[in-house]
């Protein structure tokens, strides 16, 4: 059972990273590449949160009913992932604005045809 859970969470994260990597490395379309980057980002975030999970733990929020911290999951990865998600969004937005500008300039979104510089 434990093994199954391990594989299901870590495995999903790694599967996402792998799929995203494929999009970045093999696809020619600029938008597909950006999509790939955001998929990799998602996989990494899942990996991060999964590492902080404690079996049987509750969310790290105290309420009048929950006052002891024995059974809580680790809050640090969650806080870090919050930061990482926002940063990922910022990078995606900048990348997309570059895609728009490249499209305007070259009238295409395929890296095969955007080759003023060496790739």
């Amino acid at each position: 059972m434990d093994q199954l859970l391990t594989i299901s969470f870590y495995g999903t994260a790694i599967a996402l990273i792998a799929v995203g990597l494929y999009a970045v490395l093999a696809k020619k379309n600029l938008l597909k590449i950006v999509i790939g980057l955001s998929i990799i980002d998602g996989g990494l975030h899942l990996l991060f949160v999964a590492i902080g999970y404690v079996k049987g733990g509750t969310a790290p929020i105290f309420s009048p009913e929950i006052t002891s911290n024995d059974v809580m999951v680790d809050p640090v990865p969650q806080a870090l992932v919050l930061t990482a998600i926002v940063i990922g969004f910022a990078v995606t937005a900048v990348a997309l604005s570059l895609v728009i500008r490249l499209y305007r300039h070259h009238n295409t979104a395929s890296i095969d045809q955007i080759k003023n510089l060496k790739w």
Binding site: V19, I35, G36, H45, G52, L82, T92
Partner: protein
Amino acid sequence: MIWQIIILIVLIILTVGAAIYAVVAKNLLYAVVSTGLISLGLSMFFFILQAPDVALTEAAIGVALTTIIFIITIRNTTKYEDVSDKKKSIERRKND
């Protein structure tokens, strides 16, 4: 217990399936919507992993805002991955 496992399996299939579809889809609009689905799946994963804060952020930023920015980008560029797809589509429309 069994229900939890079924939900988990459905989630995994949804997330990874959406990721694969996002990469292979010829129409970029479908690919982008599929990316939004990944975020939705991830958001549920975060909820299962007892991270409501992260789940909320992923839902607000990953599902809504990222998808929207992608869609706006597609509107400003093109929705076809290859130029050849665009030609095919125009021909099809002409034939109809």
